[in-house]
Amino acid sequence: MSFRHLRAVIRPEINHILRDRTTFVLVMLVPTAMLFIMAYALTVDIKHVPIAVLDYDRSPTSRAFIQQVTEGEDLDLYAQVDSLDDIDNLLTRGEIKAALIIAPDFEHDLLSLRGIPLQIIVDGTEPKSGGFAVDHIGGRAEEFISEALASRIRALNVNVSLDSLQPIDLRVRALYNPSLKPRVDIIPGLISMVLGFPALSVALTLAHEREHGTLEQVLVTPVGRAEFLLGKMIPYIIVGLANVIIMPAIARVTFHIPFNGSFPLFFLLSAVFLFAILSMGMLVGVFMPTQPAALALSFLVIFFPGFFMTGIFFPIASMPAEMRMEAMSLPGTHYATITRGVFLPGVGLDVLWPNVLALLGMGIVFTAVAALSFRKKLG
């Protein structure tokens, strides 16, 4: 490994990043912009979800129940309807996101302390609003029914505890939290996703050199394969680390995410992650002959699994076993654990060391495969 060769390869790349506006924007501004857009888009508060109510009971109790459900800003009573067909109609036209159906014996069942059948129909094409409606109606129903039951028990003067009746599953309420809380754990996870952009740049720069003919000219020089690949990677590690400084700052200032861990540790572990994810980008660049091909494969192997499989939005614990294994072989999964751990509980290496080892291992394996597959030949 010649330091002179390495420096020679790094310099044009740094110049390229600094002097080519498109590249500069792609590697320096896009990750930050993505963080902003996704953080806002993914944690938007849902309000004023239109629902319809079909009340078969038409009793004072059912009317009071409807009143309580649609109180406040969360759910809007769009219409009181008379048949299931009406609900079907409104749902199809998208005018409501959910419908609540109250059974004919609602009041009677409640007063005789029986189970209360409530039906909620949800527009499955918009699971977010639908799920929100279910959670909300469930929460309100639980409040209403507990209260009604309690007063009924008092009136009947029987010795039954409210808990033994278990009128509605209490967990619904416990999980539901309409505040900004989700951002707290999503944003550190998002950082691990948007840091995939420097990896994309590495893949693109290799493909660009191949397309543009500069690679052919470099291949006839005595430069070593590892020197060339590392030289292409190091500038983007530097760029990535600049993002590692900017993004936690944004997370703190803009989104008020607490940063409880040690920043130097976070910086160091981010460098390890960048090494792993960039060597993945390098592998893409080594095998893909053109920039569109490199772009497509990067999305397939870096961004797509980065989004769905690293546990940022979908918990790894709920994945099938094979997918869990795949998730564990993605650098993003381990880095998401690291970012959350350092941001929120503020844990250190004593907890995170398995993730750090995994990242190091991946970086070494990917770089080795890239260096061995990269021939100083054309075609």
């Binding site: 010649s2 002179r4 060769h5 420096r7 020679a8 390869v9 310099r11 044009p12 110049n15 390229h16 002097r19 080519d20 543009h212 003919g213 500069t214 052919e216 000219q217 470099v218 291949l219 006839v220 020089t221 005595p222 430069v223 100083k376 030949k377 054309l378 075609g379």
Partner: protein, 317 residues
Amino acid sequence: MSFESANEVPPIIETHALTRDFKKTRAVDSLDLSIRPGELFGLVGPDGAGKTTTLRLLAGLLNITSGSAKVAGYDLARQPEAIKRKIGYMAQQFNLYGELSVLENLSFFADLYDVEVSELRERTERLLAFAGLTEFKDRRAAQLSGGMQKKLALACTLIHQPEILLLDEPTTGVDPISRREFWDILTDLNLAGTTIVVSTPYMDEADRCLRVGLMYEGRMVVCADPQQIRARIEGELIELRPDDWQAACALIETLPGVLEVQTYGNLLHVLVDSADKRLPEIETALRKHGLTYRGVRRVTPRMEEAFISLIRRLEVD
């Protein structure tokens, strides 16, 4: 020119049945080539004949399918990295790093070729002067004219003082004056002892080479000095400029003793068995058919006529 004594010097490039296949085509087919140190060797041939593949093989950029080759004393298949320090290769679309200045491009290659730092300054200045780029040394490569980019590319391939220069159509897309300047530089380098293998689509450039190899469908069909190649033209050449060149061409082709008619726009080159005998006959025939013409004369065949004639004969076979 005699090569009898030079023949004793071992060749600096030597290939035996060198072959390279791509998926469906055989780009280079059993190439036997022997180039002596200090030669200026021209590779010509129609597009797709295998010139670029040959140069890439010699530069160690492509794996050999079969056959063998030695470049600068090293085996091409086994010691490609050793060869890389001895050669300078300039790809057909040599693309410099456009964001780097002229000087930065030169030092990029100087670093990769491990040029002694103590020699770097003097060598850079000499190459800049040589390529006429001294006053542009801080300009970004992307902002140079096409001709200057080619000269900078050449300077970059010369930074490690290679024994052999492999140039793939270095003057394509360059204006005639830059082209001439570029060839003056090549001639100087060659006179200073550098072996040069250059592919070119321009026959006047082929004429400046010591030896020319004509490639056709992957094979080297003729390899000789330019005079010998010109001499391979059968017959003698008559040039004329008819006003209706298509009618004249059709007529002349039917006349006895006419071997071949080549068109250069509205200029006709007619190869005949004997110019003295056929020239009056052609003039008579044209007048008889009422075809007017100007500037009829006897000319000596150039590389261009020889090239077209040779390729035509190959295409017929």
